[in-house]
């Protein structure tokens, strides 16, 4: 930084400190960010409570079953020593997607996508409804007030409000020619003002992001917190840079302050509202995702034979009510579970290709729609923050994949025991498989954020070049 620039910065700092409007804007930004961060922290804690609560209930349940096995009593139909009873009904496994690195800071689709499932041999989760909180669709439609919202929508407005007239005002009040005679170039003046005004808003948002990350980040492996936070801060600064360079260009190309304001507000409206909402509708029509209701029907068609066979096999157990059989005789529960297992495997094999085709088609359409984000800095920024927060679609797809793998593991664990009719012992209970989400490398999220940042850097370079070009022929009059 040259000496003159430092001097401009100092003067501008003094000046901004006296501006009531700037103070109000910065304070409002701080208040909104703080609220968002606290609300996010509460949400994440609530979710963690739900996950931990179910994990504890599950552990208590298994311990209780084990006690029953060791006591050697008779237990009627659902015997904790019977692997079928355990695998199908007695010990459902709760699986959950742990909150991402900064889950509380960017909701993404976390409250829409199923992230909490109860699995057993009786379920097949990958395509079924979620077991997490029942959500009010109206609340989902209204939107979220999280730090990502504040950063994507409100932060640019504050930046623009602080900088829309940095040059035009000096000209309108007649002070610009005076300033430029003091061996200060217009470029230095513009840069100094942008640094001070943009910097003030950036400092507030970054500080509260750090606070929020500390409050709302959970389960982040030690040593990853700081690098992830740095990426978060980095994209935030680049996003701010985008809006500041836009304001700078408008300042040197525009004439009156009010024209600048109109142009910048229009740009904000265009990039945060018009373009994203229009692209969402367009993407949906150009790349329609395959229909889940048709999928449901297709799977039922494919599995009809397996199910019909199953219904027949299970009829001696009164369909699915062996407790009703118990009135007349003691049902052979081991054959009951063996039959159910056979039906389950047949259904799975029949439905697998359909499911896989659906998922492939869905992934294709999504990745096509995904490219549209490069049309707006706001879309890029939101996507970057959601990826860093771990509330994006990619991490969720990975979760569903791992749930599928876990269900197979669960089945592989029980199938031979059900078939060979070997009883559950303390040892088998100890070796029950558990679901642990294997967090995909955080580098993937960081890389995504990085590519989005590049998408923002391109227009920044363009705007900066346009500004510099104009500065050469700028007449202060």
């Amino acid at each position: 930084m040259t000496l003159r620039l430092a001097q401009i910065v100092r003067q501008e700092l003094l000046r901004v400190r006296r501006e009531t409007t700037s103070w109000i804007l910065i304070l409002m930004l701080a208040a909104a960010s703080l609220y968002a961060v606290l609300s996010g922290a509460i949400t994440v804690r609530g979710y963690m409570g739900m996950v931990e609560g179910s994990a504890q209930r599950q552990a208590a349940r298994v311990a209780n079953l084990l006690r029953q096995v060791e006591s050697g009593h008779e237990f009627g139909l659902y015997d904790p020593a019977d692997p079928g009873a355990v695998g199908f009904t007695l010990a459902p496994q709760w699986v959950a997607l742990p909150p991402g690195p900064f889950a509380g800071l960017a909701t993404g689709l976390a409250d829409v996508l199923p992230v909490f499932h109860r699995t057993s041999l009786a379920t097949r989760q990958a395509l079924s409804a979620a077991d997490d909180e029942e959500e009010n669709p109206d609340r989902l439609a209204l939107g979220r007030f999280d730090l990502a919202f504040v950063i994507v929508y409100l932060f640019p407005l504050v930046l623009l409000a602080l900088t829309y007239n940095v040059v035009s005002e000096e000209r309108e009040s007649g002070t610009l020619p005076l300033l430029l005679t003091q061996s200060i170039t217009l470029g230095e003046l513009l840069a100094g003002k942008m640094i001070v005004r943009g910097g003030a808003a950036i400092v507030v948002v970054v500080a509260i992001s750090v606070l929020g990350a500390a409050l709302a980040s959970v389960q982040l492996r030690a040593g990853h917190f700081t690098p992830m936070l740095l990426v978060w801060v980095g994209v935030t600064i680049i996003y701010a840079g985008f809006w500041l360079s836009l304001a700078a260009a408008v300042n040197v190309y525009g004439r009156h302050s009010s024209t600048n304001a109109t142009i910048l507000i229009s740009a904000w409206l265009l990039l945060t509202i018009v373009v994203p909402t229009t692209l969402n509708v367009l993407a949906e029509q150009l790349h329609p995702v395959p229909s889940r209701i048709l999928l449901t029907n297709a799977i039922r068609d494919a599995t009809a034979t397996a199910e019909a066979r199953g219904a027949d096999l299970l009829s001696s157990f009164y369909g699915d009510h062996p407790e009703l059989v118990a009135r007349a005789s003691v049902p052979d529960m081991q054959s009951y579970f063996a039959t159910k297992l056979a039906v389950r495997e047949a259904v799975r094999e029949e439905s697998r290709p359909i499911r896989e085709a659906f998922e492939a088609q869905l992934a294709r359409q999504r990745s096509l729609a995904d490219r549209y984000r490069f049309a707006s800095a706001a879309l890029l920024m939101d996507d970057a923050l959601t990826s860093l927060a771990g509330t994006d679609i990619r991490r969720h797809i990975e979760y569903l994949r791992q749930v599928g793998v876990f269900e197979d593991t669960w089945e592989e664990f029980f199938a031979p025991r059900i078939v060979s009719r070997s009883g559950m012992t303390a040892q088998t209970y100890d070796s029950l498989p558990h679901f642990v989400f294997d967090e995909p490398s955080l580098g993937i999220a960081a890389a995504r954020a990085g590519s989005n940042a590049l998408g923002m850097l391109l227009p920044i370079v363009f705007l900066a070049a346009a500004t510099v070009l104009r500065l050469r022929h700028y007449s202060p009059g």
Partner: protein, 480 residues
């Protein structure tokens, strides 16, 4: 005040001339019109695709049910059937919560399933930015256009000094207000009426005369609602324009209010509602219902419960042995279980819906500060895409599920043997006897009752903005 009709017309004409001359306004009008037209076409197209998909799926699902091989009717009840939520025709205009709410419900013995598979689950995170729809254009962008149009009307004239001249000519300030409002309103109508006509034409071409006529009351109410909403923004803009020192100050404060009303307040409302009223966790809900069915009524579970029930049925028919019963004990047991479950299910789901209702009420409080929230609720209600309609469908589906399962259980009760139940089979005649689901959405009367609060809020805003505008122009220092 004397009605100065001639003056009003002159003022309105002058405003219209200025509006027509402003390049900025022309551009804004073009953008809003293009967005509106695009949203109408895309909205209709998307809706038609989804409606066709849904109708096809419904037929397939029913055919799957009818095609079942002979099996025990209760096994069939566990196989179950899928229902798909119909999409109301006006959803092309305002899709409301459609994307965020489930579309299919699995009907199965013993338990109510929630309506699942929301479109949002298959979207990308960009969906959080919202989607363009005719309703969102009217709710979000038309107010902006109104602000751009009306915020300079007094303030700029004051800056130029022409306001003082006008008043010194003896023109009453209220006449001035009416004239300016008329000018702006004519300009807006010139823009929006053709757009509205296009919207209705699309519906008329796409769905026929009967659909348009059948929806006429809703369409008229919607038009009135949006007219009121635009008027609120117009009067507010004029009021602020009359108060503000400069045109720029008027524009900035109105934009600030727009931002609060349509972007910030709805989200704050949703967030506060989330923390204030927590809905139950879905698995817990189902587990609780099942537990209560098992324990609350009989006091025991499993086999003991079966024994209690058996004693009851034997006593009811005055026989001692199951073999002597004129009906199938198992059929009676299954249906008794359903009847018990129905009460418990209703209790739990009523609580869930009440939680949603309380969340909605929380958001509604914010409508007192943000007219966007009121118009949003009203418009969704009239389009048939709000939570009340979703609930209506979910409950109709559940009532249907109970009739559906009862037909199967009754068949078992009448026909199955008490000694050889496992061999009993239902066949295609029984499958076909299962009732068909025909859904009638709630009548307009009910919609009006549900949205009365929103209508009153919007009415309140209308009165308040009118008062604000009149008071603003009548204050002594209007020209200074």
């Amino acid at each position: 005040m004397p009605i100065e009709l001639g003056a009003i017309v002159r003022i309105a004409r002058k405003e219209l001339r200025e509006i027509a001359r402003s390049g900025q306004l022309r551009w804004a009008a073009v953008i809003v019109s293009v967005l509106f037209a695009t949203s109408l076409l895309l909205g209709w197209r998307g809706q038609q695709r989804i409606r066709a998909e849904r109708d096809a799926a419904e037929q397939v699902a029913r055919a799957q049910w009818d095609r079942q091989p002979p099996k025990n009717p209760h096994t069939a009840a566990h196989y179950g059937m899928y229902l798909f939520k119909p999409r109301p025709i006006l959803s092309y205009f305002d899709e409301g919560i459609t994307r965020w709410a489930g579309v299919s419900v699995y009907l199965v013995a013993h338990i109510q399933k929630t309506v699942a598979n929301a479109a949002a689950e298959d979207a990308t995170t960009a969906l959080r930015f919202g989607t363009l729809s005719p309703a969102s254009v009217l709710q979000l962008f038309v107010p902006l256009l109104v602000i751009l149009l009306a915020s300079p009307m007094f303030a700029v004239e004051r800056e130029r000094g022409t306001l003082k001249q006008l008043l010194s000519l003896g023109i009453h300030p209220t006449t001035l207000l009416v004239g300016k409002a008329t000018g702006a309103a004519v300009a807006l109508l010139a823009l929006l009426l053709p757009a509205l006509a296009v919207g209705i034409a699309i519906m008329w071409i796409g769905a026929g005369t009967a659909a348009v006529v059948g929806h006429a009351p809703r369409l008229l109410l919607m038009a009135a609602t949006y007219a009121a909403y635009a008027t609120i923004w117009l009067l507010l803009s004029l009021a602020i324009s009359a108060w503000a020192k400069t045109g720029r100050a008027a524009l900035v404060s109105l934009m600030g209010f727009w931002l609060f009303s349509s972007i910030v307040a709805p989200r704050v409302g949703a967030d506060v509602a989330k923390h204030a009223f927590r809905p139950p966790v879905a698995v817990d809900l189902e587990a609780q219902i099942l537990n209560e069915i098992g324990s609350r009524v009989y006091g025991q579970r499993g086999a003991q419960r079966v024994a209690v029930m058996e004693a009851q049925v034997l006593a009811q028919y005055g026989v001692e042995r199951v073999e002597d019963l004129p009906i199938s004990l198992i059929g009676a047991q299954l249906q008794a279980g359903e009847d018990t479950a129905a009460v418990i299910i209703d209790e739990h789901y009523d609580r869930l819906w009440a939680t949603f209702e309380r969340q909605h009420a929380t958001v509604r409080v914010l409508a007192l500060a943000a007219p966007f929230i009121a118009i949003r609720s009203l418009s969704q209600g009239l389009a048939g895409t709000d939570v009340a309609h979703h609930r209506h469908f979910a409950q109709a589906a559940e009532q249907y599920r109970r009739r559906f399962v009862r037909v199967l259980n009754d068949d078992i009760t009448r026909n199955a043997s008490n000694t050889d139940y496992a061999r009993y089979r239902g066949d295609v005649d029984l499958w076909r006897r299962a009732p068909t689901f025909s859904y009638a959405p709630p009548p307009l009367r009910e919609v009006l009752r549900n949205t009365a609060v929103d209508a009153m809020t919007l009415g309140g805003w209308l009165v308040a903005s009118l008062l604000a505008a009149v008071l603003a122009v009548r204050r002594g220092s209007l020209a200074d």
